[in-house]
Structures are given as C-alpha cells and as structure tokens.
Subunit: 113 residues, 2 copies
Amino acid sequence: MATNKKSEFDADEIQLADFAKALSHPARIAILKILAQKQSCICGQIVEGLPLAQPTVSQHLKELKNAGLIKGEIEGKTSCYCINWDTYDQFRTLFEAFDIRLDGGRQQVQNCC
Amino acid sequence: MATNKKSEFDADEIQLADFAKALSHPARIAILKILAQKQSCICGQIVEGLPLAQPTVSQHLKELKNAGLIKGEIEGKTSCYCINWDTYDQFRTLFEAFDIRLDGGRQQVQNCC
DNA sequence: ATTATATATCGCAAATATACGATGGATGAT
DNA sequence: ATCATCCATCGTATATTTGCGATATATAAT
C-alpha cells in the first residue's frame, strides 16, 4: 500500500526531488522556456505554443506555481505568468550541491561495473 | 483520457524531462549519493541506508537503470551497481543548455509579475 | 444587459508511480 | 544435497499524474 515514505528522507533530498518532479514533464520544461523567451507571459500564448488543450496547460501552470518556479497574476481579462527566479536559483543551488557531491566519488576506484 | 502527448515535444525536452523524472523521488537521489560515496555498490548496503523495503529499493534501482543513470552487474551472489557517468554527463549538459536558455531571458523587462 | 473572450476549476477516465509481501532463481556455505 | 543469503520479479493495493470536455468566473466590448 502506497504509504508515503518520502517524508523520511533528508529535507534537501525531498526538496531537490520536488523540483525535479516539476521538470519531469516536457510540457513544463517547454512552458519555462516560453516564459523566459517572451517578454509577455500571457497564458494564451503558452497554449498556442504547446500541443495540449487549454485546461491541461492550466494544470501544468498550476503545478509549476505549486513548486514555486513561476508566479502568476490575473491582469484584467488575461493571466500573466513569469519565472520566479528566486526559487529557480534555490533549485540550481540544491542541484549544484548534489552534483558536486556526486562528482566527489567519481575518481574513486570502482570494484565493479 | 490520458493519451500520451509527451512524444509531441522536442527531443531535448523529452530527454531532459526523463532525466528529471529519474531524480523526482528522494529515494533515487539518495541512491545516487550512496553510489557515489561508497566504493562498493552492493545492493544490500543501499537497502540498509534507506527507509524502504528491499523490493522497493530494487524497483527504484531499476528505474535509475532504465534512465541510464546507473549500471548494474550481478557479481556472484550479490549485485553491483554504479553510476553511469557518461549518461550523467549527458544529463548535465542538457540541463546546462536549458539553464542558459532560461537565463537569457532573465534581464528582459517584465511587463507583469 | 448581452455577448465574447480568457482562464481557472470540476469531474472523469486512463495511465503511471509507489510500496511491499510473497515468491523464485542463483550462488555460496555446510 | 541442503540450507541460508542476496536479490529480482510477480502480484496487488493505493495514490498520483496526465489529459480533456464541460462548466464557472471574471473582464471587456457592444
């Protein structure tokens, strides 16, 4: 039974995993690219740029927002999204620490593989 | 109905998303850390280091293997795993390209948020 | 006031992920 | 040959994700 064991891991591991999950669908990666590229960040333009229906895009936007990677505001008739660079930097920092830690063991003698 | 739309995205986006998915569970992040740290990469030691039952760990190992991030060999009675640095570098390269692309739009004037 | 437009949300269906007990296969020890 | 150990795999239960049609909401236009 899928009891949630995630909380028993280190906070850093959980947080990095959560960020990774936010990037674990090509649509969300594409959305971040679009947001970085366009000055305007109207939802409709994002929908146009993706092979997905509007409700699906809205849902991916919501997940990115939950992960803290984007911010959104309702601007009159339209909605406006942009990247939350503070959170993105935090993610990058976490990943870099992970990356460096992996690299540390890289030169060691392997006794297998 | 959950028809798979993932294939309609760019190859780079799909590949990066797949790598991200491999890191989207703290257990798999922890496993990679352990593999990098220990010279030996016996499965039993991984199980000891995680708050999960052996079949569950085995399953996470399989997913990391499917993503190409680790290699595994059966060595007599025990199994031996280690990080596949070639694939890991490929992942890092993909992420870096993505990261740089995001950063490119960073200084632009935002008309919202 | 009515209508059109842009998005979010609801509700559903299908697919995938998470977790583990039970079991099986292979090796090494006795 | 028997037994113990290590690990993969099967089967199963539950939870989460993905996708979208239908609908609701809120603004802008007429």
